[in-house]
Symmetry: C2
Subunit: 428 residues, 2 copies
């Protein structure tokens, strides 16, 4: 049996604690599978004295994660501190500089600094792995990088923020407005300290940027993502969409187009009877489409101690078994800088508007759409409530540009009570 693989773990929060527990509970199983012991040698966290319910006295302690990363008795530096800068970044850089492999769960760090960190790791001949950074326990990085390595990916999609999906599911089930469910989620501790990371689509955007890099061989481009959060999704949209056979999801979509890399993280409608439409609560789902394989769907818990620690251990086990791949599936120097393409691809859209009680109002709206070259697939007008009547329209495929033109035209007719809501319908 080869010598033990020695881990230094920085960060003993939920995920770090979970990694320690797996390493202790499954020491024999891991050794049988890896052909060598997985041994924690040193740890680091903000507070040494906090009671975490963990047996830690066999491990060396470092107050400073950078010092931990540089220890001679550490082969793999496991970064579970979090944050796109500060100690996490400094420690990962120090680990690479001193010849350590790195395993991290830090999506923000890689979304912002993935390219230079991958280059540094490869220059040092070390691995930088991040299965736990995307979709929690779902082994999607491995599936995309290795399991589907014979494919040219054509599209990658995912619901990758459990909190947002929980909020949307709860709104629909309990028929509650966004604000109420947001407050509930906050009380339950489901939201990040800065909730915009969740509900603003930023956390999910970080994950999409990492998947797109592997799928399309491009440099991580978080800034190239068109991001829109779920803050403006109303219970009316959720209920009306359901009535038309759709569900609202915060959906990430990445596709390579003739004009560049299209990356979107935004509320979309998906058919209620599709796997994405049926996804409920905090579960994550990633859909990969490849030219050979067709469509693969993977779902599972996207967060939490056990699932995230499972993903971290998967990377650790790969390193123990001698698997060393470039961070994004091919050498960082190969990755292209694809221009960010606006999502000009045509799609059907869902429109909701409140029509004023004026003669010919609906005809005016229909005329504006027709003049913009947008044809109507389905339309429903409901009875007037006070002075307005809700109108739902599902268009045939159109471009966002044509739609924006039509939306401006509708505003100019004077028959609308407020700006219409427009949500893209993603074909899944």
């Amino acid at each position: 049996m080869t010598s033990p693989l020695r881990l230094g773990i920085a960060g003993l929060g939920t995920v770090g604690g979970g990694v320690v527990r797996i390493a202790q509970r499954h020491a024999d199983l891991l050794a049988a599978r890896a052909g060598r012991q997985i041994q924690i040698t040193a740890i680091s966290a903000r507070s040494r004295d906090k009671d975490r319910g963990l047996r830690l006295n066999a491990y060396a302690w470092e107050d400073d994660p950078v010092a931990l990363a540089q220890r001679d008795d550490v082969d793999v530096f496991v970064e579970l501190i979090g944050g796109d800068d500060g100690p996490a970044k400094a420690a990962v850089e120090a680990a690479i500089a001193t010849g350590k492999d790195v395993v991290t769960a830090n999506k923000a760090l890689l979304a912002h600094h993935g390219q230079p960190l991958a280059e540094a790791a490869e220059a040092a001949g070390r691995a930088l792995r991040f299965e736990a950074a995307v979709a929690g326990g779902i082994p999607i990085i491995k599936a995309l990088t290795e399991g589907l390595a014979g494919n040219q990916a054509t599209r990658v999609m995912g619901v990758m923020n459990g909190t947002c999906n929980y909020i949307l599911t709860r709104m629909e089930r309990a028929s509650l407005p966004y604000g109420d469910v947001f407050a509930e989620a906050s009380d339950l501790g489901y939201l990040e300290a800065d909730p915009t990371l969740d509900v603003g689509g930023i956390d999910a955007g970080h994950k999409l940027a990492l998947l797109a890099s592997i799928a399309f061989g491009t440099q991580v481009d978080f800034d190239g993502i068109e991001i829109e959060g779920i803050e403006r999704i109303s219970i009316e949209d959720i209920e009306q969409a359901a009535d038309m056979g759709y569900r609202v999801k915060l959906l990430g979509v990445a596709r390579m187009t003739g004009r560049g890399l299209e990356q979107r993280m935004s509320p979309c409608l998906v058919p209620a009877n599709s796997p994405l439409g049926q996804l409920e609560n905090a579960t994550n789902m990633v859909v990969v489409e490849g030219d050979a394989v067709g469509q693969i769907v993977m779902s599972g818990p996207g967060a939490g101690e056990g699932p995230t620690a499972s993903a971290v251990m998967s990377d650790v086990m790969d390193l123990a078994r001698g698997l060393r791949l470039p961070t994004f599936g091919q050498p960082a120097s190969n990755l292209t800088k694809a221009p960010a393409a606006e999502s000009a691809a045509a799609a059907p859209f869902y429109l909701r508007m409140a029509l004023l009680d004026k003669p010919g109002a609906l005809a005016k709206i229909a005329t504006v759409l027709g003049e913009a070259g947008i044809s109507i697939d389905r339309m429903r007008q409901y009875g007037h409530t006070d002075t307005t009547a809700p109108v739902l329209i599902v268009t045939h495929k159109t471009t966002r540009a044509a739609l924006d033109g039509a939306l401006a035209g509708m505003g100019a007719t004077g028959v609308l009570d407020s700006d219409p809501v427009a949500i893209r319908i993603e074909e899944v």
Copy 2:
């Protein structure tokens, strides 16, 4: 860049043709990802002259797959011949004996001879890989062996025969009896030459045996599987189960119990709104439950040229990248011989029977169940048709042994028109 990885491909049917197409179409992409060329050097198939629509003239030809397996210019022998014995086995053995890595899509070969072949490969220091053997394009072997390597698996389930799932879906949708849909599937060429492999659950059983070996660290034990096919599933059961909120699936389940390894491949009822219940047509789905990760669900195309070739190329790419794991995730010598445990675990059951038009008939059935200690969760009696009345019962959890006792007791009451149908309800 390292020297090219040289493939010898035996078998140029649907899957072999797909592998050649991917290797040709994506030569540059594969090289970028693997850091070396993937090069086909030699091929073998039954007929040299058949027009397969493939460019093959750059490759050396061998009539005999054993000779192909032994060629000096082959690093990886790709076995796509099929069959659990004969030329496939001889060629794989020859490849291992002459120091080649082997990639195969042959579930029957590994289900029957996996243990000695894995031992031989490991003794020779070579890899024997089989991603394509289970669930087509879904990278489930990789997920289980590597992606979830930090978990003790608690249960593995799967719908892994697309033809059976197609038949069951089509029966429900068109309200057609089994015989009619079987004949349709046969006409469409969906069935194996020996259809028992499909509808008898044997093909799916082969796959379950391979998954169980990895999940539980046990020697492949195909003979230990309780196998029941879909031949006796009636349209009545499908429709009545739907009425109670269930769907019928040919479901494989493997669990480690205190008494040994439980492996079942049989028709089960699953909740219609679960991912397994929603699976339609020929799509495959595998569910893995692990102690850390919870439940992971993967679905995708289970057969066909592109998906299966995608899985073969995944194994090839791993070898090109230098990943070499034991066949079943840990050394073959570690794998235990777990006794086959009968599925004594309690489960709810669905019962369908035809009650004769006699006074007190239903009371007699209920009494027999009660005396066997089986309580009734839900019961429906429908109106009499001629002389019998259909009765549906969903029991609370009970053991198969208790149920069999009750079924015998019901027969003895003389109030049944025929033997009751009993189908296990799997909690998913």
